[in-house]
């Protein structure tokens, strides 16, 4: 590589990096526009629905466990009182 070309590249480094940064910004905007057009993807929706169902089932199980514990505790108390 000639000295002239090396010097040329050194002076133009900020411009080259700038042009690549602009390209990255263009890529980001293109991705944003296209994904906004899709909305959330079908798999993402399915995943979100499954997560919601899992959470509801977990809460229902917790409620059931708490209810059973309360029933057991009241039964124990009744047994103790009858004794």
């Amino acid at each position: 590589m000639s000295h002239e070309r090396m010097n040329d590249e050194r002076t133009h480094w900020p411009q080259i990096i700038g042009s690549i940064v602009v390209a990255l910004a263009i890529v980001a905007v293109a991705i944003l526009i296209t994904t906004a057009k899709f909305g959330s993807t079908s798999s993402a929706k399915i995943q979100a629905r499954e997560d919601r169902i899992d959470l509801q089932e977990e809460r229902a199980k917790d409620r059931q466990d708490a209810l059973e514990e309360r029933l057991k505790a009241s039964e124990d108390r009744r047994e103790e009182a009858s004794e």
Binding site: Q15, I16, G18, S19, I20, A23, V29, I31, F38
Partner: protein, 143 residues
Amino acid sequence: MEEFVLDLTNGNVAEVKVILASVIAALAIYQLALAAVGYGKLRLPFLANPAALRGHRAIGDTSFALAVITGVMCLSVYGFEDDGGIHAVAGAIVLGTLVVKTCIVRSDSLKIGRLLPPLGIAVFLLFMITWATSAGDFLIEGP
């Protein structure tokens, strides 16, 4: 290969392909502007011709890689569909033209650099046709 692509995109092959194609199309427009600056057709005070050409080459390499990935995804999952005639032909020609253009750019012994601007314009037009016949349709009309 089809299984791999489906796994990689979590089943959303069309959506990923549309995003990649749109990114390539946006970069192609930018590449055209950079080439215009590089060849002195467009003068910008903040961007010198050699810098524009270096940027053009770096971004072109990335676009080429993205185009190959998109093409492989497209072929492995959809193949050459009957109703995708223009898309398939334009896609195949654009990749071939890109390979020729890259060979000319990389080779100093081939003294046919004057062919680069018309080849570049051809690549740009073919990219736009390929995008419009798949991603453009998909974005306007929906899946």
